[in-house]
């Protein structure tokens, strides 16, 4: 449109001005609110309902509310008692995490927000490396930040891990794509990777002891039973989404595989988990996982819940990804085949990049669902954001403030979910261009 000359707006001498009743505020009111007697009646009904609801709500939440103080006596009980939230704020955010260690959680948040902000900056040059940091390095740092305690590592193992990460990065990084030696490295890579993984899995056991160990003890350990509040909610949601995405992609590929056994296994897995409520999965995780493990293996409640949530979410993720796979035209598969690509390269280089791009909004929607579902962990005795509010409201000193707790946590959940749904709509629009 930009290149075309705009016609000059000029009032025709004989043109009549539009009637005042169809333009401006009056016109808008007429059209949108009072276009017919029925419409006018509906408008008045809606206004009356708003009148019944909004003023008392505002009075309760703001005008009559109590904001300052530190005991329940500070509340006159005429409106909301936000003192309750103020007193319990730390618990609602961090659970029972020791007060002097809370900086670790904040540091974890800060690192995440900082790295995430770099991703959002347009034309930031090293986005790939930030992505690798977030997906590979950050979880390790965050794990040690949040759990802490003594960490004993063998220097050899550490070197192998670093070599594996470095080697993989070189193998994949676009910067080295045109170097002469890259072909040789590509050929050697599978042997290298298998060797490194084999060392990680068996090396120390074969030797009987870990060589050259160093102990790190930067800060004390915080047991997971002390985790709670919004922090726990975010941990569960993040682990659930990061764990379920790769698993879901594999399941979706398996479901569309031509190998009947693989397909059967994947279909059964997906349909079973999609067919049952999350609560039964969590019940299973908390009651049955301990039975499944050999004697002496005892893993904690949070880990069990994380496993349950991840398995459950991966089944839903698989269906979203499958939608994307089905939307890729057959020509793309045939073209990849004609180029001589094998199965994994066809999927990894041609099909999945397109399919995942299509389903990003679906993935975000899935994430919203997962985020809301994390509240169910309170049924197996973990105190997430909502669970902490519930616990605070049943504290003997603070009985009767349940609604304030729900309103506050509800506001928190709503901000996250609404923000994500808007972001997903924005992505949908942004990704639709150029197709």
């Amino acid at each position: 449109m930009a290149g075309r000359a705009q016609p000059v707006q000029q009032e025709h001498p004989l043109a009549l001005r539009p009637s005042a009743a169809t333009v401006g505020v009056v016109g808008w009111l007429r059209q949108k609110l009072f276009s017919s007697p029925l419409n006018a009646a509906l408008t008045f009904l809606a206004l009356y309902i708003l009148y019944l609801v909004i003023p008392p709500l505002v009075r309760w939440a703001f005008i009559d509310a109590d904001w300052v103080g530190s005991t329940r006596e500070a509340c006159r009980r005429e409106g909301a008692c936000w003192v309750f939230i103020r007193v319990w704020f730390e618990r609602l955010m961090y659970g029972l995490y020791p007060r002097e260690e809370i900086w670790r959680i904040n540091a974890g948040y800060g690192l995440l927000v900082g790295a995430g902000a770099l991703l959002v900056v347009p034309r930031f040059p090293w986005k790939h490396w930030v992505g690798v940091f977030l997906l590979v390095v950050y979880p390790v740092i965050a794990f040690y930040l949040f759990v802490g305690g003594s960490l004993t590592v063998s220097l050899v193992t550490l070197a192998v891990i670093l070599a594996l990460i470095g080697g993989t990065a070189v193998r994949l990084a676009p910067a080295f794509r045109d170097r002469a030696w890259i072909a040789g490295w590509r050929r050697a890579y599978p042997v290298f990777a298998l060797g490194a993984l084999a060392w990680l899995a068996l090396g120390e056991r074969l030797l009987g002891s870990a060589p050259l160990t160093v102990s790190v003890h930067l800060w004390p350990m915080v047991e997971t039973r002390l985790w709670g509040g919004l922090f726990l909610t975010l941990v569960i949601a993040a682990v659930g989404i990061v764990g379920s995405l790769p698993l879901g992609i594999l399941l979706a590929l398996g479901r569309r595989s031509e190998l009947p056994v693989v397909r059967g296994i994947c279909v059964a897995f997906i349909e079973v988990w999609r067919g049952v409520p999350l609560i039964t999965v969590l019940f299973m995780a908390s009651n049955m996982f301990p039975l499944f493990m050999p004697e002496g293996v005892n893993f904690d409640k949070l880990l069990r819940a994380l496993l349950g949530v991840t398995i459950f979410a991966s089944a839903y993720m698989a269906e979203v990804v499958r939608g994307g796979l089905q939307a890729i035209p057959k020509g793309q598969y045939e073209a990849a085949e004609a180029l001589g690509l094998g199965y994994w390269r066809t999927m990894g280089l041609v099909v999945l990049p397109q399919a995942l791009k299509i389903v990003i909004p679906g993935i975000v929607n899935n994430f919203i669902g997962l985020f809301k579902d994390t509240t169910l962990v309170l049924i197996i005795g973990l105190f997430d954001f909502l669970g902490m509010a519930q616990a605070a409201a049943s504290n003997a000193n603070w009985l009767g403030f349940a609604i304030e707790g729900y309103v506050f946590t509800g506001f928190g959940f709503w901000l996250f979910c609404f923000g994500m749904s808007r972001y997903s709509q924005h992505l949908e629009r942004a990704l639709h261009t150029g197709r």
């Binding site: 949108k32 609110l33 276009s35 419409n39 509906l42 408008t43 809606a46 206004l47 309902i49 708003l50 031509e258 190998l259 009947p260 056994v261 693989v262 296994i265 349909e271 079973v272 999609r274 067919g275 049952v276 409520p277 999350l278 609560i279 039964t280 019940f283 299973m284 009651n287 049955m288 301990p290 039975l291 499944f292 493990m293 050999p294 004697e295 919203i368 809301k372 579902d373 509240t375 169910l376 309170l378 049924i379 909502l386 519930q390 409201a393 349940a402 609604i403 729900y406 946590t409 509800g410 959940f413 709503w414 979910c417 609404f418 749904s421």
Partner: protein, 402 residues
């Protein structure tokens, strides 16, 4: 266009294709891959089963379903069938199952009604109405269902005054912290004629609709099917009721001492669960309905107008059938979600399948494997039945393309 620059054909240079190495044979690869996958799954299964058997035998728990015949020994606050502490675990399971079905059934009906109203409100030309509906949807959809359930149960229903200060509607419905009390229909002898008349009316309507449709296809003459059907559905039972002298009376709840006596009592857990489930699901259904109606292309409306159909005919014959085609599949999956979400009952102690069976019975007997397996199997059966229905329905209404 391209030119051959070199003197030789590049293909001529390569070796004649020999037999590829064995490990590149796709059939062999497929076989090996599948055997490996199967071995992995079976191996994991054996590992789990072995560990479970070892752990159970150490705890002295006999596996199997023998426990279902034992006496339950616990009470259940609400039951549709006769139940007492001396009944068996099997009976307790049935009580829980029926309670789940009851809450899902009521929830589905209410959510559908509210959802359709919301969907239509969002499409209203009245700006205020459309905005109100949109605000409702955005608020309710983005809050965890458990939070809404807690708000209804702990925040509102449990805060209500006692029976003496009940919230009263029309002197027939009483809402207080003990639950919702409403009049109960008492059936008197001869009542059977009314359902019978309803069944007769239903059959008549189906036959009539078929006949009317065939006649319309043959001759083009329309028949007022909807109004005649409605008349039949209302008229026949009414006629039966008059003939038998209205064999139905209402028993009203009466305040006696500290609580209400008589009438129908809905425990507050049930009320909270139904309200939370239906208001939550309705927000999703509203969006589905809106998308379904918007999904009917505008050309269809214009074509219908061009054919001279009235507004009612246009809705009934052109828009609604096509919108339903879009609406029904996601709608059934919402019904399924509602049924699965009803398991949140456990959080407010409504005695549903999960609370009674996977909660209390599991705690008492320790038969975790059997109980969780049965509970999951029940929900899985629901979902398989619904997807079966979905597939049949989809095949029936799928567009026949030429």
């Amino acid at each position: 266009m391209y030119r051959v620059t070199g003197a030789r054909d590049p293909l001529a240079e390569s070796e004649p294709p020999g037999k590829p190495p064995v490990w590149q044979d796709p059939r062999l690869r497929a076989l090996v891959f599948q055997v490996l996958a199967l071995a992995g799954v079976v191996g994991l299964g054996v590992f789990i089963v072995n560990n479970t058997i070892a752990n159970l035998s150490k705890q002295g728990i006999a596996s199997g379903f023998g426990f279902l015949g034992r006496t339950a020994g616990f009470g259940i606050s609400m039951s549709l069938i006769e139940y007492a502490e001396e009944h068996t675990y099997l009976r307790a399971f049935l009580v829980g199952l029926l309670n789940t079905m009851l809450v899902s059934g009521i929830g589905i009906v209410l959510a559908t009604l509210l959802g359709f109203v919301l969907g239509i409100m969002r499409l209203s030309r009245n700006w205020l109405i459309a905005t109100l509906a949109a605000a409702y949807v955005e608020v309710v959809r983005n809050l965890p269902l458990l939070l809404q359930l807690f708000l209804w149960y702990f925040g509102i229903l449990r805060q209500l005054p006692g029976p003496r200060q009940s919230v009263t509607v029309l002197d027939a419905f009483f809402l207080n912290n003990r639950g919702l009390f409403s009049p109960q229909p008492i059936l008197e002898p001869g009542f059977g004629a009314i359902p019978l008349a309803l069944v007769v009316a239903l059959v008549a309507v189906v036959v009539l609709a078929r006949w009317a449709r065939r006649r319309r296809d043959r001759t083009g003459e329309p028949f007022p099917t909807v109004s005649v059907s409605l008349a039949l559905l209302v008229g026949l039972p009414l006629l039966a009721a008059t003939a038998t002298g209205f064999p139905l009376r209402w028993e009203y709840p009466v305040l006696q001492g500290f609580n209400f006596v008589g009438g129908m009592e809905l425990i507050p857990e049930l009320v909270a669960l139904v309200v939370a489930l239906s208001t939550y699901t309705a927000a999703f259904i509203g969006e589905i309905v809106r998308a379904g109606i918007l999904g009917v292309s505008h050309g269809q409306t214009e074509a219908a107008q061009a054919l001279g159909l009235t507004r009612g005919q246009m809705l009934r014959l052109v828009i609604i059938p096509q919108a339903l085609r879009i609406i029904i599949p996601p709608l059934t999956s919402q019904y399924l979600n509602l049924t699965k979400n009803s398991s949140l009952a456990a959080a407010i102690a409504y005695p549903d399948l999960v609370l009674v069976f996977a909660g209390t019975v599991l705690m008492q007997t320790g038969q975790a494997v059997e109980i969780i397996a049965v509970t999951m199997a029940v929900y899985l059966t629901f979902s398989l039945l619904i997807s079966l229905f979905m597939n049949v329905y989809n095949r029936r209404i799928a567009l026949v393309e030429r």
